[in-house]
């Protein structure tokens, strides 16, 4: 774990060109959003298909606040996250009254409405032309974010913070509560858990991560169009989560890195990458429902159990001999 973090921090010195750095920064940004979806879908059991919309809300809030309102970058970043949370709170309040399939369909439609509004509301969002000239992150005291490496570090720190927060949540009573809701909402309610309150905090937290990722994306790419809120992006995010492992801590990071790197190396496929990823997603969900991380986890557990039973057998044998 520590070795991984050291490697991540030394990567800019190892990497030969900015392209790899750029790619990695981008996948870290996606990973932040995927952690958000994981908290809601993986731990609380509500499959949200609206998170590309919240990602877009975060990105557009930052873009509009800095470009059109001329706000300071860091203030805009915080405001963008707050705006996303506020909208997330309102939508969550209604969406979470629905369950299972209804929730998925409801959020799918909400995501589509967000996309359509961004696309059609030209007065505010510039419509299909998109928003250009979004500033890079502003300086913090003497630290400037004008090189690829410095932006990489910025995103990396945000990602580590997100992972830490998620880790703390799932290890706490709150996280256990989420899992209780996932496993059986009725039971959770019976033992006195306020399910609505918990579901809503999980939902708002997950939109917060999506909004943060969107805002970082906007300042990193410096250009945004309505496409970032499309269902295609939503399905991409979902795929990162599932291939990595839904409901696991390392899953979002593993899946995002793997698939982003893979699709970058399959450049020639580009439009057709879904020919491979689509069936991959289906196969993984049938045979490895907990993704790569989950499969490795199960395999390690099995080995431990086997080892233990082996030792036990030996002890028995010796006892019988003696």
């Amino acid at each position: 774990m520590i070795a991984l973090i050291i490697f991540a921090f030394s990567f800019p010195f190892i990497a030969q060109n900015d392209y790899y750095l750029h790619m990695l920064t981008l996948s870290f940004i996606w990973a932040i959003a995927v952690y958000g979806i994981n908290l809601l879908s993986g731990y609380t059991g509500y499959l949200s298909l609206a998170h590309a919309g919240f990602f877009a809300i975060g990105a557009y809030s930052l873009g509009l606040l800095t470009v059109k309102a001329g706000m300071n970058f860091w203030l805009a970043l915080v405001t963008a996250c707050l705006i996303t949370c506020a909208i997330g709170f309102l939508i969550g309040l209604i969406a979470l009254r629905t369950k299972e399939h209804f929730f998925a369909i409801y959020t799918l439609c909400v995501g589509y409405i967000i996309y359509l509004v961004i696309d059609k509301w030209e007065g505010l969002t510039e419509g299909v032309r998109g928003l250009i000239g979004i500033p890079a992150p502003g300086n913090i005291g003497p630290i400037a974010f004008d090189t690829a490496a410095s932006q990489y570090y910025l995103v990396l720190i945000f990602l580590l913070a997100v992972i830490l927060i998620v880790y703390r949540i799932i290890r706490s009573l709150t996280g256990r509560t989420y899992m209780a809701i996932r496993n059986s909402e009725d039971l959770a309610q019976t033992i006195g858990i306020s399910t609505m309150k918990n579901k809503l905090t999980a939902f708002v937290l997950s939109t917060f991560f999506a909004g943060l990722a969107g805002a970082l994306y906007a300042s990193f790419i410096r250009f945004i169009g309505p496409d970032i809120g499309s269902t295609a992006i939503m399905f991409d995010l979902l795929m990162y989560l599932l291939v990595g492992g839904i409901g696991t801590l390392s899953g979002p990071l593993v899946g995002t890195l793997l698939l982003v790197i893979l699709s970058q190396n399959l450049q020639f496929l580009q439009e057709y990458r879904m020919l491979i990823f689509g069936p991959l997603l289906t196969i993984i969900i049938i045979f490895y429902p907990r993704g790569i991380s989950g499969a490795i986890f199960d395999w390690q557990n099995k080995r431990k159990v086997n080892k233990r039973s082996k030792v036990r057998n030996e002890i028995h044998m010796k006892a019988e001999e003696g």
Binding site: Y106, G278, T282, I285
Partner: protein, 287 residues
């Protein structure tokens, strides 16, 4: 007044297409409890197959549609056999995700085979008919008549034939159906076949008045979900009525509210419905 009647007629046309798509979706949901997100991709493939049969082999429109129904129906059977059957015991989350995987694959496949361009399908029924001061193309009339014919046939099949009653039995209780000796796997495959066939008919009928392109199923499937929530998940009459309600509200909304936002109407409708009643209109209690 003329505009109103014209728009009502258009609503009837769009509504017929929506009803057919929603019927297939609701059958699969009502009987197998799978919200098949890949249904839109089946719709899209149906359009492409009919188009290719007509342009490449110069086949008659109706024969092309027949081939398309068979091919997409068989594809539905394959999906049931090799994907959804394996997930029957899995948590409900997994069906949805597997369906999304299939959707992504089929769309990339269509783009790979036919390219990303928009195609137009020519229909042998392009004539314009004048009737009491109203003008409409024969194709639109054909959509309405064929859709209603298909619905009647489906109804007769479900109510009057033995195979049809096994499907109804399974929608009422899977365990019960299997206890009286109904082969559940066969019924599940048959359901998927009918569902795929309905999607193919709908897209073959609608393509001459719309366009054929890889993303053509997106909006249609989203609206079909709205319809089946409107009409009660799994309810067949609900899907038909819901389809027409949405068709009318869209064509009237496009004229009297705003053409730009006509696609949003369906989703606003859904958001309002689920806000007021989280289990959908006309829900038959717990699934």
């Amino acid at each position: 007044m003329d505009i109103l009647i014209q728009q009502l007629f258009n609503g009837l046309t769009i509504g017929s297409v929506y009803s057919l798509v929603a019927l297939g979706l609701t059958l699969v949901y009502g009987i197998l409890h799978i919200p098949n997100f890949a249904h839109g991709a089946l719709y899209m493939l149906g359009g492409y197959i009919t188009l290719s049969m007509m342009t490449l082999y110069g086949v008659n429109y109706w024969i092309a549609m027949f081939v398309s129904v068979i091919v997409v129906g068989l594809l539905g059977v394959l999906l049931e056999r090799f994907v959804f059957r394996l997930l029957r015991e899995a948590p409900p989350l997994h069906d949805k995700i597997a369906a999304i995987g299939i959707l992504l694959f089929l769309e990339a496949f269509a783009q790979f085979v036919w390219g990303a361009d928009f195609h137009t399908m020519t229909s042998p029924y392009g004539q314009v008919v004048n009737f009491m001061g109203l003008t409409f193309t024969l194709q639109r009339l054909l959509i309405i008549v064929s859709a209603i014919a298909v619905m009647v046939l489906l109804y007769l099949f479900l109510k009057k034939t033995y195979t049809g009653s096994t499907i109804i039995a399974m929608s009422q209780s899977r365990e019960g159906a299997s206890l009286v000796g109904i082969n559940i796997n066969k019924v599940a495959m048959l359901t998927f076949m009918i569902s795929g066939g309905l999607a193919a008919i709908a897209s073959s009928l609608a393509s001459p008045i719309n366009l054929v392109f890889p993303g053509m199923g997106h909006l249609v499937i989203l609206k079909a979900f709205v319809i089946i929530i409107l009409g009660g998940m799994g309810s067949i009459p609900g899907a038909i009525v819901g389809g027409y309600i949405l068709g009318f509200s869209e064509s009237l909304g496009a004229t009297y509210i705003s053409n730009d936002y006509k696609d949003i109407i369906a989703f606003i409708l859904l958001v309002v419905i689920l806000t007021v009643k989280p289990t959908g209109l006309f829900a038959k209690g717990e699934r």
